[in-house]
């Protein structure tokens, strides 16, 4: 377990030789020991092609590589931090919500259109995620930022979960998501309940929801 929650807004990470870690640039608050921070031009793992892919997709949040031996405190902007443990499954999260993650995780960029075609692209636009999102896969831990606290809602095949796109933070597991609309004539005449679009997540896994409808 490389991340330890100090309080709701700070995490402490243990870095040991030969074990890399990535974090958002500028998110280090304090450190003990011999730790070096090098800006990562490629914006994460992979070679040149991954870098070009992220640039093109707009998922290129500046990252830095953290190496050495010691402990590092991370926090950013007073946002709440949630540590998510991954055991082989894939986490989908927006790149600018990533605070820090284990170097053992494989990072990738996912085109939302590949999950549900045109509706996937529409969904990305409505939820403000854009057309691409970041995926992390493998064994390790991820520290994710959110505005307000985060709750974890389990998703099981017989219990799909609907989420307000603005409050959606991340999800993991084998989950299909689609945009469901509840547009009625009331929304057309400006008398909507403010809940016209929802993300419907079904399958098995979990979704993380923040206690606010504000973006970071």
């Amino acid at each position: 377990m490389p991340f330890r929650e100090i309080n709701s807004k700070m995490v402490e990470a243990v870095v040991s030789p030969g074990q890399r870690m990535f974090s958002q640039r500028g998110a280090m608050l304090a450190y003990r020991g011999e730790v070096s921070f090098t800006p990562n031009l490629a914006g994460g793992q992979g070679g040149l092609m991954s870098m070009i892919g992220r640039r093109a997709a707009g998922e290129d949040t500046p990252l830095m590589t953290v190496e050495g031996s010691g402990t590092v405190l991370f926090g950013h902007g007073g946002h709440h931090v949630q540590v998510i443990e991954l055991t082989g499954d894939t986490l989908y999260v927006e790149a600018d919500r990533l605070l820090a993650f284990d170097g053992t995780l494989r990072q990738g960029t996912v085109f939302l259109g590949s999950q549900g075609g045109v509706m996937g692209m529409v969904r990305g636009q409505v939820s403000g995620q854009g057309l691409f999102t970041t995926s992390l896969q493998g064994q390790g831990a991820v520290a994710v930022m959110a505005h307000g606290g985060v709750i974890r809602l389990p998703i099981t095949p017989d219990r799909p979960v609907h989420v307000d796109p603005q409050a959606y933070v991340a999800h993991h597991g084998d989950v299909r998501n689609k945009l469901s609309t509840a547009l009625g004539w009331r929304d057309m005449v400006g008398r909507g309940s403010g809940e016209a679009f929802q993300l419907e997540l079904s399958g098995s896994g979990a979704v993380y929801v923040q206690a606010s409808e504000e973006k970071l």
């Binding site: 606290g149 709750i151 509840a182 309940s193 929801v209 409808e213």
Partner: protein
């Protein structure tokens, strides 16, 4: 049935009944839910007229269905209140959710409203049931007894319940007029028997500037 998930997310279990919640405050739900906006805070034609006239407007939606619905608004802290027939006064902007047994209305607050930046009217809750009230930071509940009256900064006032008389008190002196005030020129004074909810943060008020 209202439950808190953490301190900032309200979970409501619905079994076919209806709750009223602030417009757009749903963050997630399980099961089947329907959201319908109501006009005038769901108080019918009378509500439409009085809320328009008093400026105590409340954007409310009716949520009904089967399952669990989660509400949150701008990471505000949530306080659960159970009402057993008594009356509670709260600002419309601090009201997150009420269950079917609670009726809402408007009432005149007097001078206090003008100084607390909330307008001259406030929202009342009456009946038997639960309500969820939001505050900026965790709220403290202060008890008022006949021997111990309480003075509250208008910007930090959230809600009150019980048999309380409120009066407006000002500490305006010639120093305040010279611009040397301590920033605490006005207070609301509560006397009687009841509870007052105070938040650890102050809204921008007229009184706070002098």
């Amino acid at each position: 049935m209202f439950r808190l998930q953490g301190s900032r997310v309200l979970a409501v279990d619905l079994t076919g009944d209806t709750v009223k919640a602030k417009n757009g405050s749903m963050v997630a739900y399980e099961g089947r839910m329907a959201f319908k906006k109501t006009t005038g805070g769901g108080e019918g034609l009378r509500g439409v007229v009085t809320r328009r006239l008093t400026g105590e407007q409340m954007e409310v939606m009716e949520v009904s269905g089967q399952g669990t619905c989660f509400f949150a608004d701008r990471a505000s802290e949530i306080n659960l209140v159970s009402l057993r027939g008594e009356k509670m006064y709260v600002e419309a902007s601090n009201l997150l959710c009420t269950d079917g047994g609670v009726r809402t209305g408007t009432s005149f607050t007097g001078l206090r409203g003008g100084a607390s930046g909330n307008g001259l009217f406030t929202t009342t809750l009456e009946g038997t049931g639960q309500a969820a009230i939001m505050s900026d930071g965790p709220a403290v509940v202060l008890r008022v007894t006949p021997q111990y009256p309480l003075s509250v900064d208008p910007g930090a006032y959230v809600a009150h319940q019980g048999n309380l008389r409120q009066s407006f008190q000002s500490g305006v002196t010639f120093r305040t007029l010279l611009g040397e005030g301590g920033g605490e020129a006005f207070q609301i004074r509560f006397e009687g028997d009841g509870l007052v909810y105070v938040q650890p943060s102050e809204r921008n008020t007229v009184g706070g500037d002098v």
